[in-house]
Amino acid sequence: MKKNRKLGRGVAIVGAGMSKFGMFRDKDSKDLFADAFRELIVSVDKGFDPKDVDALYLGNFSNDYFMHQAHWGPIISDLVGIAPKPATRTEGACASSALAFREGVFAIASGFYDMVLVGGVEEMSKRTTEEVAEGLALATVPYEGRAGFTFPGVFGAVATAYFAKYGAHREHLMNITIKSHNNAPLNPKAQFPVTIADLMNKKKESLQKREGAAPDWQTEKDFLADARANPVVAWPMHLFDCCPISDGASCMLLVAEEIARNFTDDPIFVAGLGQGSGRGFHASDDLTYFEATRYAAREAYGMSGLTPDDIQFSEVHDCFSIAELVHVEDLGFFKPGQGYKAIADGATRLDGIKPINTSGGLKCKGHPVGATGISQLYEVWTQLRGLAGARQVPAGDLRIGAAHNLGGTGGTCTFTILERK
């Protein structure tokens, strides 16, 4: 009988911040983290003294490769003025800062620290697209690379296996893209705050002006089905199935539960934590799900005593459209093979029964890989506190939200459940 894991003592989030995500020629990793940290400072309702922070855990995947600069822990602890307090970097590919969050939680739960800063940062846009692709491919498993697989390629292959098993097709993935693009304009931090409908109409206008004729796109799906507007990257993954190249930073202030109300009357608590590791796509039991995600979900549900039905909304790692589809099944929100039908029925829209990626997701909010995990938790924290403005989940009385983060081709997956008491 598996034992449900528990924290040694409760841990609360009392502040959070994130930079705008995007491609910034005039900002580096330090500038972006400073933006996130400035927001965190003012987010702590009753204030805090940064000198009381006991330690920093920082997620960063590969600034070594992207910026030829490694060892970001002390650079950031110096930036925010907590050096010589310890700084530790965590690496789990695109899940790097979800690991920083976990380590920060464990450090407080063990009783060793009372207040920990956790964060993530990545700076990718100063490299060419080919260089970024090569840098990200460092996180595939060796056999995938030898066979010519790219990141979009592995997820494209997941899609063909899913389509063959369950009878879904490309149009079902378009529902995910359209939904994410509908949420993004409501998020001031998003890299692509524009709907597919607006993109389509702008493109029509510009083609009309330039060539004297516009394509006959009637719906968003006509636009997405046209290879001129939405070229293939790794079939069936097309441009609008893929997240962008981004720069950004995110951070959170964690404290022991017993002192949480010294900082805010509205702390958000860690209810469940899960992390799993994967064996490589080819070696999975089944090619239509991610074992590491399922393991992480079991751990987090077991620890929290909650079930998938209790999760009122979730951020889900949508590096590619198919990833969001298989993960909403892996996390138990929908039965295997049923996710694409529920999505087509609007279940994951902002006003649906299970809103997914209210932030716009990696697809539209952006994906500065090392910053993504904590930026997802930032969205959950913002929603639970009712501060999400135009994109606030309309259901009201939000108590429980979650975030799922994936690294590599499923090598590192986390699922984190947050609760407002």
């Binding site: 010519g148 494209g156 063909t160 389509f163 063959a164 293939v232 990257v233 790794a234 070696a283």
Partner: protein, 138 residues
């Protein structure tokens, strides 16, 4: 018994000799392709080599237009895409491989489940000759 280590390096050397080789645990008979040096069923390190027949079925695939640098060096690009896939071997187990003999510009015609046989691609990459595992329709 061969003395070759049950490693990725040996796996690649066998591909050069046009052999698709896996390892089998002599204690519990669990088989692994690519090879493992430690059995993850019974944790024995007493392994032997087994040669695969080289037949199987397509389990998943993708047609890649945005290629990584080492594939671009082999002449692949947006106008000349290629296919990567996962192949379920007749003996069980799956391998990542290139897929040849099918049109990457017509992905709708490529069917998950179609039978395949092994093919070894001996290719110049820079000044080195490399061998890549591939499969093609039976």
């Amino acid at each position: 018994m061969e003395e070759k280590s049950f490693s990725d390096i040996t796996y690649e050397q066998y591909l050069k000799e046009e052999k698709l080789m896996g390892s089998r645990c002599t204690e519990c008979e669990a088989a692994y392709v690519p090879p493992r040096s430690i059995c993850v069923q019974c944790f024995s390190s007493d392994m032997e080599w087994v040669e695969m027949k080289g037949t199987g079925r397509l389990a998943a695939f993708t047609c890649i237009t945005i290629a990584p640098p080492f594939m671009i060096a082999q002449g692949y690009n947006r106008k000349n895409p290629y296919i990567s896939g996962v192949v379920e071997l007749e003996e069980g187990g799956r391998v990542d491989a290139r897929i040849e003999g099918l049109d990457p510009n017509k992905p709708e015609d490529i069917k998950v489940g179609m039978p395949l046989k092994v093919k070894y691609l001996h290719t110049e990459v820079g000044d080195k000759e490399e061998t890549f595992l591939a499969f093609e329709p039976l």
